[in-house]
Amino acid sequence: MPRLLALLLALQAFGVGLVHAKEQLLEVVVAEPYLEMHSGPGRGYPVVYVVGRDEVVTILYSRTDWFKVRAPRGQEGWARRTDLALTKLASGEPAPIPPYPDFATHRWELGAGYGVFNHQNLVTTWGDFGLTDSLDVEFVLQQALGTIDNRYIASIGMRHTFIPEWRWFSPTAGIGTGYQYIDDKVPPKPLQTSNQLAYVSLGARGFITRRFMWRADWRKYVVFTNQNQNEEPEEWKFGLAVFF
């Protein structure tokens, strides 16, 4: 029972509650001759209902490019973003259908990808916050899986995008610092299992579609050890990200 309760609480926290607070929904007026409602959120789903000009539709929520709407007589269906963008508010202003974030000036980014760290397979994930259009803070969490050891690397750094308005390809460069933790697979044990590190990076990014983008990065690390020599591993990676 406590488990069930905990699950319910967790679901509530994710907004999937059984009881919904009455929320305000956006209502828009059809300004074009008609608005088509499809049976599903996709280009292939058939049109099942049509709302005429000057009729009011209620927007329930969105999924990717599609918006679930309710017609005046209660029929529900999915309308395309580009069609809804042509509707108006009751006051006559254009409907506030959120556009996609502009790639050149986006603020947040979340991504994941594959790479090679010092001849080891690398799984990488990152979060990125743009301070300006060309300067971001990047947080990277990655796991390098090798035959001798596994490494967990967490780093934070600054990255400069040289020409942010170039959509398809714009070069980047960055510096940063972080920590690595070594989990050895075969003996002998490493002399140190956690080290601080610093890096310089060169890379590129580009727009794919909507809020989807790619990133490629090469990094040169200096791993600070308590021995005579520091380790200097290299890394390259490629990943996909969504931006907000």
Binding site: L26, S39, G42, A112, F212
Partner: protein, 223 residues
């Protein structure tokens, strides 16, 4: 004297600082009507400007849920597997998905025939994995149940990578999957998935790629 001077300067600096913070806002207009004595005061209308707030449209692009099924661990038999999954739908075609799952391996046929031999320790039989995938809805459509019911659905393929921890070792794994998403309602979906986790191992003597295929049934909610 010096202290007094510096404290005055500090006070001035603080005051100017306050001014700095308020520079975006308008100072509250303090209109003090100067009333000549004896005359009735003019009533100032107190009408607040109505702020029209347009409601925001909720985006339901995230999908979260769990799954349960069977995982065939190569050389170690087929065993129950369970896990959680989360997805973000980028467009009607593309989505990004993450999985976290676990299972427990059985015994190899070698261990069955010779009970004294153990290939993997008991704790090493835990099979846990995470995956980061990109998925593509190849065949979106509708599934009809009788005359009056239609469910939106999509057949999708996924490809990705992650980590498999088996025999107390983490291995880099690639995974390839195919699944069917059936939307029971617009926010509740049922998934049927088949996924292969491929990684390199030398557990049974020689280094080889092992295929660990799982078939699962899942339930997710969109929010």
């Amino acid at each position: 004297m010096e202290i007094r001077l510096s404290s005055v300067l500090l006070a001035a600096a603080l005051l100017s600082g306050c001014g700095w913070f308020h520079r975006g806002e308008k100072a509250p207009a303090q209109v003090v009507a100067e009333e000549p004595p004896g005359e009735p005061s003019i009533v100032e209308p107190q009408v607040n400007r109505r702020v029209v707030k347009t409601p925001k449209i909720k985006a339901k692009d995230f999908e979260l849920g769990g799954y349960f099924g069977a995982l065939s661990i190569q050389d170690f038999g087929t065993n129950p597997v369970y896990g959680v999954r989360a997805a973000y739908h980028v467009s009607e075609d593309i989505f990004l998905e993450g999985f976290l799952g676990r299972s427990k391996a059985g015994t190899t046929s070698l261990e069955d025939v010779f009970p004294d031999i153990t290939v993997v320790s008991d704790s090493g039989r835990r099979f846990t994995y995470y995956d980061l995938d990109v998925g593509y809805n190849v065949l979106p459509g509708e599934i009809f149940l009788g005359r009056g019911r239609a469910f939106n659905s999509a057949l999708y393929v996924t490809v990705g990578m992650g980590d498999v921890k088996f025999a107390d070792k983490d291995q880099f794994a690639l995974n390839f999957g195919m699944g069917e998403r059936l939307l029971i309602t617009d926010w509740l979906a049922m998934h049927l998935d088949v996924r292969d986790h491929v990684f390199e191992t030398d557990l049974t003597g020689r280094t080889k790629n092992v295929h660990n295929i799982e078939a699962t049934l899942g339930l997710t909610v969109f929010y």
